[in-house]
């Protein structure tokens, strides 16, 4: 029970720390996040952070206590050191790694034909994955409209005939 028990204790403390970091007013203010207007459960979170340590003391599990304390301070530092935007980037990176891994697994059978090139590309993807951002269709349409309007503007400046806009709603304001 010993090893897993300590890991669970560390996880509970990190959950509490994560909540405290996410709802920390100064951190939110500095990194331009909107202030929280809902109630902040500080004491339950503090209990989650320190409770496991007290439990380990109560059980006399001294080696577990030291591992817990060391892991919570080191991982707590890592957690606090990452900026809120960093978590978003990390999610994108994880997404990219997952996609690269999936492609690597699928392409594993194809290595006989493109052995070295394929492997090199896949490894380079794993090391520095490209950000695979999911762009919603709406956003694509807006971008398309913007490109068309810019094209129209350019054509007008050149004195040529204005091309037909793809999305009239957005174009009308641009032409006027």
């Amino acid at each position: 029970m010993s090893g897993w028990f300590v890991i669970v204790m560390i996880a509970v403390s990190l959950t509490g720390l994560g909540y405290l970091a996410r709802t920390d007013a100064k951190r939110r203010r500095i990194f331009g996040q909107i202030a929280l207007h809902r109630r902040r459960f500080i004491w339950p979170a503090r209990l989650a952070v320190f409770g496991p340590g007290l439990l380990l003391v109560g059980l006399g599990h001294w080696s577990g206590l030291m591992i817990w304390a060391g892991a919570v301070t080191t991982l707590g530092w890592a957690m606090a050191a990452i900026r809120p935007q960093g978590y978003v980037h990390a999610l994108y990176a994880a997404d990219g790694i997952a996609i690269a891994l999936k492609r690597h697994m699928l392409n594993l059978w194809d290595l006989t034909t493109h052995r070295w090139t394929g492997l090199r590309v896949q490894l380079s993807d794993l090391i520095a994955p490209k950000h695979h951002k999911i762009v919603p269709e709406e956003q694509l349409a807006t971008l398309q409209n913007r490109i068309t309007s810019l094209q129209a503007e350019l054509d007008m400046q050149k004195g040529t005939e204005v091309s037909e806009p793809a999305a009239p709603a957005l174009m009308s304001s641009q032409v006027q």
Partner: protein, 511 residues
């Protein structure tokens, strides 16, 4: 809200900064190497490519030991030490206590073949050749005494421990918003405020363990050279013998009458039952005599921090009780003394505690490095400080690189049997090269070495992964994997930096 006046805070900041600046680079070396040598046993197994390693002494060792003892002159029977080397072989060290320096006979026996594989005889002041352990010994020396001669290195490391404690205390006093800023990440590391955030955040989170590591480190640095003589002078009028007798008890009168020794196998079985932990070594006083004593060292039992030493009568094999580091009865001082080692080395719960201690050591090294960079960033208009900043960058990135070069030199010279000289020489060569390289090239070279070392280890006679897996030699796999992960992380960092530089060049084209 600070309880110190502005002038006092400013003065304290000067003390904090200057003390760090003067010895900061040495402290960084000590902390970084310390974080690595937490895994000293695993590094030793990995470097030797040993796949038959075991932590425990085993169940049946009596026959092999007696066979080895018969080949040794009885004048070396005053003290015998038995332990298992990291390559799985048993080492028996027989020594005579008089005259000084002690004379030693060292025998290494392979339990698999029951054959003596190595035999060495000499004075305790000499170092027996241990080519396989050259890498571990060098890295440990670098941490323990900065590879300086004894006692200067130990004293200097002790001073660094005290300095680290002073820096931690002055750091708290200067920065009064420790709790409020506990979650404030660095705003923009390129700016001064961002560099300050980086240092303060790492220092805040690492504070409890900074005290623990600094205090225990200073203790080990000073106890032998200062602690014992000072205590003898202060409390025993300079009589060290009287102090030892008071602390450890008067030694029993030795009866040299020859008597048959009890079976070590029986003693080990008894000790295993009583301690509940792994048995790591045996020490026999006055072997083969009526007054012989057997002390069995047991590692910490599950859930505990420190191990224990169980004493047995060498002839009747009767259990005599647990021996104490100081005094004859259990005491708070004895318990605290027993905690010094586990709290400093982090070796009380196997690889889990070692990983945590390595993480904390690296975090402390980061605090030191970020503090040095912050101090020089504040003085970026001064060319002298900027030259010093380049030195700092060279040492920060150069230390891991030089350590890797020393490992490379070790592996390349191990087959020729001369790594004892080449390992430190490789480090020196790496350090000199590092100081002439810029950070990007240094990062790439470190990355290449991290990725190449597992392969070099294997090509120079080390165990393959399949052999290690079959034999259950996890340290070989663990260290190889850690190097590969470090190499891939550095490669990714290098790619990201290259992309960033390229973007900067595109955005700011040359006129």
């Amino acid at each position: 809200m600070s309880f110190l006046s502005q002038a006092k805070t400013k003065r304290l900041l000067s003390v904090h900064g200057w003390s760090g600046t003067v010895l900061g680079l040495l402290l960084y070396i000590c902390l970084f190497t310390g974080a690595i040598v937490v895994f000293e046993d695993e590094i030793d197994i990995w470097a030797q490519g040993a796949i038959t390693h075991r932590d425990d002494l085993g169940i049946r060792i009596d026959n092999d030991f007696r066979k080895a003892a018969r080949t040794v002159n009885p004048s070396y029977y005053d003290e015998v030490l038995i332990f298992r080397q990291s390559d799985g072989q048993m080492q028996y060290r027989f020594q005579s206590l008089q005259p000084e320096p002690r004379q030693i006979t060292r025998i290494v026996l392979d339990p698999a073949t029951n054959k003596i594989t190595d035999r060495w005889q000499g004075a305790s002041t000499e170092q027996p050749p241990t080519p396989g352990a050259a890498l571990r010994n060098f890295w440990v020396d670098l941490h323990v005494q900065l590879y300086l001669p004894n006692p200067y290195g130990l004293i200097l490391v002790g001073v660094l421990g005290l300095m680290m404690m002073a820096a931690a205390i002055s750091g708290i006093l200067i920065h009064s918003h420790v709790v409020r800023d506990a979650f404030v990440a660095a705003r923009n590391p390129a700016r001064l405020v961002g560099a300050r955030d980086l240092h303060v955040l790492a220092g805040t989170w690492g504070l409890p363990f900074a005290f623990i590591l600094a205090f225990t480190g200073a203790f080990f640095g000073f106890v032998g050279n200062f602690g014992v003589p000072v205590m003898a002078t202060a409390a025993f009028g300079g009589d060290q013998q009287r102090m030892i007798e008071t602390l450890l008890g008067t030694p029993d009168k030795i009866d040299p009458t020859v008597a048959p020794m009890a079976s070590l196998d029986y003693v080990l079985a008894d000790a295993r039952k009583r301690s509940g932990g792994t048995l790591s070594s045996i020490q026999i006083q006055n072997y083969n005599s009526v007054s012989s004593r057997i002390a069995v060292r047991a590692a910490a039992a599950p859930g505990q921090l420190s191990g224990s030493t169980l004493e047995f009568d060498g002839v009747t094999r009767a259990y005599l009780g647990e021996s104490h580091l100081v005094g004859q009865v259990p005491s708070v001082g004895n318990s605290l003394l027993g905690l010094m080692g586990p709290l400093h080395f982090g070796n009380f719960a196997g690889v889990a505690s070692k990983l945590v201690w390595t993480g904390m050591g690296l975090a402390m090294a980061f605090v030191t490095a970020s503090g040095l960079l912050l101090w020089t960033k504040r003085r970026q208009d001064n060319p002298t400080w900027q030259r010093f900043r380049r030195w700092i960058m060279g040492v920060i990135w150069g230390l891991p690189f030089a350590m890797l070069v020393s490992a490379l030199a070790f592996f390349l010279t191990l087959p020729a049997g001369d790594p004892d000289w080449w390992t430190p020489a490789g480090f020196l060569l790496g350090a000199l090269t590092a100081l002439r390289m810029g950070v990007p090239r240094l990062r790439l070279a470190t990355c290449a070495l991290c990725l190449a070392l597992p392969l070099v280890r294997h090509l120079t006679g080390g165990a393959s992964w399949s052999e290690a897996l079959i034999a259950g030699a996890w340290p070989v796999l663990l260290i190889d994997l850690l190097f590969l992960i470090a190499g891939l992380v550095l490669l990714r960092q290098h790619k990201l930096h290259s992309q960033q530089n390229l973007r900067t060049m595109i955005q700011e084209p040359a006129e």
